[in-house]
């Protein structure tokens, strides 16, 4: 009764299915299971918009269809380990024991774009962007600095009127790569933090309300006066939240932007050992213009690929993205990799699948 009309709909849909609505034609070589998509990937939510854009453009260009779902960095790592997906994506590098558990052998980390964690706050009384240092920030999140007009904050912001109110901390309730990057930075600049909560995808927060996801924190900060929180830069931008300027290792106050984040990664390629696995941290990077809470995000794939056809497609996509994906990344608030690093990765990827003659030119 209920099922019959639904089944009819389904059959009708099946009749029209598999057509070229999304992209032109099928991707070419036969895969081991005939399928509507060529590759499946899962992982981080942070790069999902730019990956979406890249996959869509790539499908339009070459017909190779890649299905990516953002189930979280940990989810991506787990699915890759269990080999239910062809590649994973993560905002934090895999730990050694995680890599040991991966079923398909050694895992390659390929950085794709850079992102930044912005410190957002809701205090309309503060007329200019708030300036903070790493240790003051850590103390705020440790609960040691509790008032907006605390002496240490006032010292960093001379001449700026600060409200005499309590600081309400908003942090993440769920595990995430954003938290990893943020706590990585705090542990680097504050011994109290390193000895206390430490760094991780989730930590034991001494104070604060937990928001779910970047949008939960952004929403909370937006709604509640007197709050301070940390979100991916895109969320701060899109929600038009105030963003703090942080003092970087060189002593300058910078606010997150494409230039300052790219500056954090500049020079990284030169310092890499030849056989680097690219699990790099660039928080608190040197450089006069570097934004201190910047990070890579990685795509994870097995070094030894079982299916040469799929391997070829994946590698070709990655090389295309590293080469041609820059402009779209910037348009969406993501920062492309520095040129030196991108070309080095390109060489590494070329070693991975030399048999793939059909590169996406």
């Amino acid at each position: 009764m209920i099922v019959a009309p639904l089944a009819a709909l389904v059959l009708a849909a099946c009749g029209g299915g598999g057509d070229a609505k999304a992209a032109g034609g099928d991707g070419g070589a036969a895969t081991s299971r005939s399928s509507s998509v060529d590759l499946t990937g899962a992982g981080a939510t942070f790069p999902q918009p730019i990956y979406n854009k890249w996959f869509s453009d790539y499908a339009a260009k070459t017909g190779v269809r890649i299905n990516y779902q953002s189930i979280g960095s940990g989810g991506g790592i787990r699915q890759l380990s269990e080999q239910t997906v062809d590649f994973g994506a993560s905002d934090s590098p895999m730990k050694d024991d995680e890599m040991a558990k991966a079923r398909g052998g050694p895992v390659l980390h390929v950085p794709t774009v850079l992102g930044a964690v912005a410190i957002t706050y809701n205090a309309p009384e503060i007329q200019k962007p708030l300036r903070l240092t790493g240790d003051v920030l850590a103390d705020v999140f440790l609960g040691k600095v509790t008032r907006w007009n605390d002496a240490r904050i006032a010292a960093l912001n001379p001449g700026v009127a600060l409200p005499a109110k309590d600081i309400l901390v908003v942090r993440r309730s769920d595990g995430s790569g954003t938290t990893y990057i943020f706590t990585d930075y705090l542990a680097a600049v504050s011994p109290a933090w390193a000895g206390g909560p430490g760094k991780g995808k989730e930590v034991q927060w001494p104070v604060g309300l937990g928001g779910k996801g970047n949008e939960g924190v952004a929403g909370q900060v937006k709604q509640t006066p007197g709050t301070i929180g940390y979100v991916e830069l895109a969320y701060a931008r899109q929600n038009r939240l105030s963003v703090a300027e942080l003092r970087n290792a060189a002593g300058n106050f910078v606010s997150p932007s494409v230039e300052t984040v790219a500056a954090a990664a500049a020079g990284v390629a030169e310092k890499l050992p030849p056989e680097s696995d690219y699990r790099l941290s660039i928080v608190n990077a040197p450089g006069p213009n570097a934004y201190p809470i910047s990070s890579f995000t990685w795509i994870l794939l097995y070094r030894n690929q079982a299916d040469p056809v799929k391997a070829g497609k994946l590698v070709d996509f990655l090389r295309w993205a590293l080469r041609d994906g820059d402009s779209t990344a910037v348009a969406l608030d993501y920062v492309p990799l520095p040129e030196a690093l991108a070309s080095r990765l390109d060489q590494r990827l070329a070693q991975l699948a030399p048999a793939s003659a059909q590169g996406a030119k």
Partner: protein, 327 residues
Amino acid sequence: MTELAAPARTAAGAPALGTGIEGSPVGDRIYRVSIAAFAMAVPLLLAAIAIAVFAAAWPAFRTFGPGFLTSSRWDAVEGAFGAAPAIYGTLVSSFLALLLATPLAIGVAIFLSEFAPGWLRQPVAFLVDLLAAIPSVVYGLWGIFVLVPLLRTHVMPFLANTLGLGRTPLFSGPAYGPSMLAAGVVLAIMVLPYISAVAREVLLAVPRSQREAALALGATHWEMIWGAVLPYARSGIVGGVILGLGRALGETMAVTMVIGNRHEIAASLFAPGYTMASLIANEFSEATGDLHLSALMAVGATLFAITLVVNAIARWLVWSVSREGAP
């Protein structure tokens, strides 16, 4: 209705199997076995899940012992896990949700079965049932952007100051917005359709004779409902409440967006808290350490056990109430 005619007979004159007045042994047996098989699917499914959950949770229980249930420390970096705040939060938020939702749901059900004019009944019933279809992420986001600010700016100050309840431990403390109260309200809204749907159907099924008898004895309309209709429908309504309880215990997305997610046991409803289901949902996607995953499964196993206990208590209450003065 072929049985009204003379039952079919075999050539020998004996009633053919399956058509005779003595019943249909083969058909009946197939029927009985089939429904028993379907009924067995439930325990089997649950057993499979339970075994898998407890097996995955065992390492955490072995490491932390009963302290897992009493410790408030949840530290993924250090590898120390304790689920006490989550347990407390689950129980309090679910209880609050039922407290708010049950009278409302029964009220709606009574309205729909007794007072609503025919043209109003179906639309209102639809509307209330539709609450069940709203995805929990929509509830969560609506909670963040509409409900929590509403609570923070109007309801909580009203409760604390205007009603003067701010001095009682239950309503003390600063009103940030995300809180146990917000979770309870969101859960109450989510649980409402389940209780109301079952209650409504059961109330509609009460025979007219019961109603007429009460009215004939001189009862007012309300007295008729209270004295004749509701007791008849009591076990069905309790069944609906238990369904709602189940939903409240297991809800993740909407709760985690409005409860503040703090590993703390606080007496005040204005304080943020945590629930077991939110804990699992928040951390499962990202957890990769073995002990961390096992701890999350241990939370799942605890939730399993608590669901068992709460349901057992509810059943016992129903049984003890229905023993005295059963309809």
